[in-house]
Protein backbone atom coordinates (compact mmCIF):
# COMPACT_ATOMS: atom_id res chain seq x y z
CA UNK A 1 0.00 0.00 0.00
CA UNK A 2 1.44 3.42 -0.92
CA UNK A 3 2.08 5.77 1.94
CA UNK A 4 -0.30 8.67 2.12
CA UNK A 5 1.36 11.96 2.94
CA UNK A 6 -0.34 15.17 3.90
CA UNK A 7 1.41 17.99 1.95
CA UNK A 8 0.35 20.56 4.53
CA UNK A 9 2.24 18.68 7.22
CA UNK A 10 5.42 18.63 5.16
CA UNK A 11 5.19 22.32 4.34
CA UNK A 12 4.68 23.26 7.99
CA UNK A 13 7.65 21.16 9.11
CA UNK A 14 10.03 22.41 6.42
CA UNK A 15 9.27 26.08 6.81
CA UNK A 16 9.16 26.23 10.58
CA UNK A 17 12.05 28.44 11.69
CA UNK A 18 14.55 26.67 13.93
CA UNK A 19 14.20 29.39 16.52
CA UNK A 20 10.54 28.47 17.01
CA UNK A 21 11.33 24.84 17.69
CA UNK A 22 11.91 23.23 21.04
CA UNK A 23 15.51 22.34 21.84
CA UNK A 24 17.03 19.90 24.29
CA UNK A 25 20.11 20.60 26.38
CA UNK A 26 21.90 17.28 26.77
CA UNK A 27 24.91 16.46 28.95
CA UNK A 28 27.06 13.50 27.93
CA UNK A 29 29.01 11.24 30.25
CA UNK A 30 32.75 11.64 30.66
CA UNK A 31 35.20 9.66 32.78
CA UNK A 32 36.90 12.66 34.36
CA UNK A 33 34.38 14.79 36.20
CA UNK A 34 33.53 13.89 39.78
CA UNK A 35 29.92 13.04 40.58
CA UNK A 36 29.57 15.76 43.18
CA UNK A 37 31.16 18.24 40.77
CA UNK A 38 28.50 17.42 38.16
CA UNK A 39 25.72 17.74 40.77
CA UNK A 40 27.11 21.11 41.85
CA UNK A 41 27.25 22.37 38.25
CA UNK A 42 23.66 21.30 37.55
CA UNK A 43 22.52 23.14 40.67
CA UNK A 44 24.45 26.29 39.76
CA UNK A 45 23.51 26.41 36.08
CA UNK A 46 19.87 25.35 36.25
CA UNK A 47 19.05 26.20 39.85
CA UNK A 48 17.93 22.62 40.46
CA UNK A 49 17.45 21.24 43.95
CA UNK A 50 19.90 18.62 45.15
CA UNK A 51 17.68 15.61 44.46
CA UNK A 52 16.88 16.68 40.90
CA UNK A 53 20.52 17.41 40.22
CA UNK A 54 21.52 13.98 41.59
CA UNK A 55 18.87 12.29 39.42
CA UNK A 56 20.30 13.90 36.28
CA UNK A 57 23.87 13.12 37.34
CA UNK A 58 22.93 9.45 37.74
CA UNK A 59 21.29 9.43 34.31
CA UNK A 60 24.46 10.83 32.78
CA UNK A 61 26.59 8.29 34.61
CA UNK A 62 24.39 5.23 34.01
CA UNK A 63 22.78 5.97 30.65
CA UNK A 64 25.56 8.02 29.08
CA UNK A 65 23.48 11.18 28.80
CA UNK A 66 20.68 13.17 30.33
CA UNK A 67 18.30 15.81 29.02
CA UNK A 68 18.72 18.69 31.42
CA UNK A 69 16.36 21.21 29.93
CA UNK A 70 14.06 21.78 26.97
CA UNK A 71 12.87 25.07 25.56
CA UNK A 72 13.67 27.88 23.20
CA UNK A 73 16.90 27.98 21.26
CA UNK A 74 18.46 31.11 22.72
CA UNK A 75 18.13 29.98 26.33
CA UNK A 76 19.28 26.48 25.39
CA UNK A 77 22.44 27.91 23.79
CA UNK A 78 23.10 29.91 26.93
CA UNK A 79 22.83 26.77 29.06
CA UNK A 80 25.14 24.81 26.75
CA UNK A 81 27.71 27.61 26.93
CA UNK A 82 27.57 27.67 30.73
CA UNK A 83 27.93 23.88 30.93
CA UNK A 84 30.89 23.91 28.56
CA UNK A 85 32.43 26.69 30.64
CA UNK A 86 32.36 24.15 33.48
CA UNK A 87 34.04 21.65 31.08
CA UNK A 88 31.03 19.39 30.79
CA UNK A 89 30.26 17.81 27.43
CA UNK A 90 26.98 19.52 26.59
CA UNK A 91 25.17 19.52 23.26
CA UNK A 92 22.00 20.94 21.77
CA UNK A 93 19.46 18.79 19.92
CA UNK A 94 16.09 19.45 18.36
CA UNK A 95 13.25 18.04 20.39
CA UNK A 96 11.31 15.63 18.20
Amino acid sequence: MPLSVNPETIETTETEPELDQVWKVIVLNDPVNLMNYVVMVFRKVFGYGEQKAIKHMKEVHELGKSILWTGEREQAESYVFQLQKWRLQAVLEKDD
Binding site: P31, V32, Y37, M40, E77, F81, R87, Q89, V91
Partner: protein, 148 residues
Amino acid sequence: MIDFQIQVDPRILQAILPELEKTFGKASRTSGVSFACPNPLDEDFVEAWESGLKEEFLNDRKVLARLLRNPKFKHGYVEVQDDEVEELLRSLTELRITLREDSLKELTDEDLEKGEVELEKKKSSVRIGYFAYIVMAEIQEKLIAECS
Protein backbone atom coordinates in the same frame (compact mmCIF):
# COMPACT_ATOMS: atom_id res chain seq x y z
CA MET B 1 39.65 32.86 52.09
CA ILE B 2 39.36 29.09 51.94
CA ASP B 3 42.41 27.17 53.05
CA PHE B 4 43.09 23.55 53.88
CA GLN B 5 45.83 20.98 53.68
CA ILE B 6 45.54 17.94 51.45
CA GLN B 7 46.41 14.56 52.92
CA VAL B 8 49.13 13.32 50.64
CA ASP B 9 52.59 11.90 51.18
CA PRO B 10 55.07 14.80 50.71
CA ARG B 11 57.17 12.59 48.43
CA ILE B 12 54.21 12.10 46.12
CA LEU B 13 53.50 15.81 46.14
CA GLN B 14 57.11 16.59 45.22
CA ALA B 15 56.94 14.02 42.43
CA ILE B 16 53.77 15.39 40.86
CA LEU B 17 54.60 19.11 41.00
CA PRO B 18 56.66 19.07 37.76
CA GLU B 19 53.89 17.03 36.11
CA LEU B 20 51.32 19.61 37.16
CA GLU B 21 53.44 22.45 35.82
CA LYS B 22 53.98 20.60 32.54
CA THR B 23 50.31 19.73 32.15
CA PHE B 24 49.20 23.23 33.06
CA GLY B 25 51.54 24.62 30.40
CA LYS B 26 50.20 22.18 27.85
CA ALA B 27 46.58 23.02 28.65
CA SER B 28 47.37 26.73 28.36
CA ARG B 29 49.27 26.40 25.10
CA THR B 30 46.87 24.18 23.26
CA SER B 31 43.80 25.97 24.63
CA GLY B 32 41.84 24.50 21.77
CA VAL B 33 38.16 24.50 22.41
CA SER B 34 37.20 20.86 22.10
CA PHE B 35 33.58 21.46 23.00
CA ALA B 36 30.89 21.27 20.34
CA CYS B 37 29.51 24.60 19.19
CA PRO B 38 25.73 24.23 18.77
CA ASN B 39 25.74 26.03 15.41
CA PRO B 40 28.85 24.75 13.57
CA LEU B 41 27.81 26.01 10.12
CA ASP B 42 27.72 29.66 11.16
CA GLU B 43 31.36 30.80 11.13
CA ASP B 44 30.70 34.03 13.01
CA PHE B 45 28.76 32.18 15.66
CA VAL B 46 31.51 29.57 16.04
CA GLU B 47 34.14 32.29 16.35
CA ALA B 48 32.16 34.14 19.02
CA TRP B 49 31.42 30.89 20.85
CA GLU B 50 35.03 29.73 20.91
CA SER B 51 36.48 33.12 21.81
CA GLY B 52 33.96 33.36 24.66
CA LEU B 53 35.01 29.98 26.02
CA LYS B 54 38.71 30.76 25.59
CA GLU B 55 38.30 33.95 27.60
CA GLU B 56 36.55 32.04 30.37
CA PHE B 57 39.24 29.35 30.35
CA LEU B 58 41.99 31.98 30.53
CA ASN B 59 40.41 33.61 33.58
CA ASP B 60 40.07 30.22 35.26
CA ARG B 61 43.72 29.35 34.61
CA LYS B 62 44.95 32.53 36.28
CA VAL B 63 43.56 31.28 39.59
CA LEU B 64 45.11 27.84 39.18
CA ALA B 65 48.44 29.45 38.28
CA ARG B 66 48.36 31.38 41.56
CA LEU B 67 47.73 28.16 43.47
CA LEU B 68 50.54 26.26 41.76
CA ARG B 69 52.99 29.14 42.32
CA ASN B 70 52.07 29.60 45.97
CA PRO B 71 55.10 28.37 47.99
CA LYS B 72 52.74 26.74 50.51
CA PHE B 73 51.28 24.48 47.83
CA LYS B 74 54.37 22.29 47.70
CA HIS B 75 53.68 21.48 51.34
CA GLY B 76 50.10 20.52 50.56
CA TYR B 77 48.40 23.77 51.54
CA VAL B 78 45.63 25.07 49.31
CA GLU B 79 44.63 28.71 49.60
CA VAL B 80 42.01 30.37 47.44
CA GLN B 81 39.91 33.50 47.73
CA ASP B 82 36.20 32.86 48.31
CA ASP B 83 35.25 34.54 45.05
CA GLU B 84 37.72 32.48 43.02
CA VAL B 85 36.64 28.99 44.07
CA GLU B 86 34.56 28.39 40.94
CA GLU B 87 37.44 29.40 38.67
CA LEU B 88 39.75 27.06 40.54
CA LEU B 89 37.28 24.16 40.33
CA ARG B 90 36.92 24.62 36.58
CA SER B 91 40.63 24.92 35.93
CA LEU B 92 41.33 21.84 38.04
CA THR B 93 38.85 20.00 35.83
CA GLU B 94 40.71 21.22 32.76
CA LEU B 95 43.98 20.02 34.26
CA ARG B 96 42.48 16.58 34.95
CA ILE B 97 41.07 16.40 31.41
CA THR B 98 44.51 17.25 30.01
CA LEU B 99 46.17 14.64 32.26
CA ARG B 100 43.64 12.08 31.07
CA GLU B 101 44.33 12.90 27.40
CA ASP B 102 48.09 13.04 27.82
CA SER B 103 49.80 11.08 30.61
CA LEU B 104 46.87 8.72 31.16
CA LYS B 105 45.83 8.04 27.57
CA GLU B 106 46.74 4.36 27.84
CA LEU B 107 44.20 3.85 30.65
CA THR B 108 40.60 3.00 29.87
CA ASP B 109 37.65 5.13 30.93
CA GLU B 110 36.51 2.22 33.08
CA ASP B 111 39.89 2.09 34.87
CA LEU B 112 39.62 5.76 35.72
CA GLU B 113 35.97 5.73 36.76
CA LYS B 114 36.42 2.74 39.05
CA GLY B 115 39.86 3.81 40.25
CA GLU B 116 41.13 0.30 39.48
CA VAL B 117 44.55 1.03 38.06
CA GLU B 118 47.35 -1.49 38.61
CA LEU B 119 50.02 1.11 39.14
CA GLU B 120 52.87 -1.32 39.77
CA LYS B 121 52.49 -2.51 36.17
CA LYS B 122 52.58 0.98 34.73
CA LYS B 123 55.56 3.06 33.73
CA SER B 124 56.69 5.95 35.92
CA SER B 125 55.10 8.67 33.78
CA VAL B 126 51.68 7.01 34.08
CA ARG B 127 52.04 6.54 37.82
CA ILE B 128 52.96 10.19 38.33
CA GLY B 129 50.17 11.32 36.03
CA TYR B 130 47.69 9.18 37.92
CA PHE B 131 48.78 10.52 41.31
CA ALA B 132 48.47 14.06 39.96
CA TYR B 133 44.99 13.21 38.67
CA ILE B 134 43.94 11.83 42.07
CA VAL B 135 45.42 14.70 44.09
CA MET B 136 43.66 17.28 41.89
CA ALA B 137 40.42 15.36 42.45
CA GLU B 138 40.98 15.49 46.21
CA ILE B 139 41.40 19.27 46.04
CA GLN B 140 38.16 19.50 44.05
CA GLU B 141 36.34 17.33 46.60
CA LYS B 142 37.48 19.54 49.46
CA LEU B 143 36.59 22.74 47.62
CA ILE B 144 33.10 21.44 46.83
CA ALA B 145 32.65 20.40 50.47
CA GLU B 146 33.74 23.86 51.59
CA CYS B 147 31.23 25.48 49.23
CA SER B 148 28.25 23.37 50.19
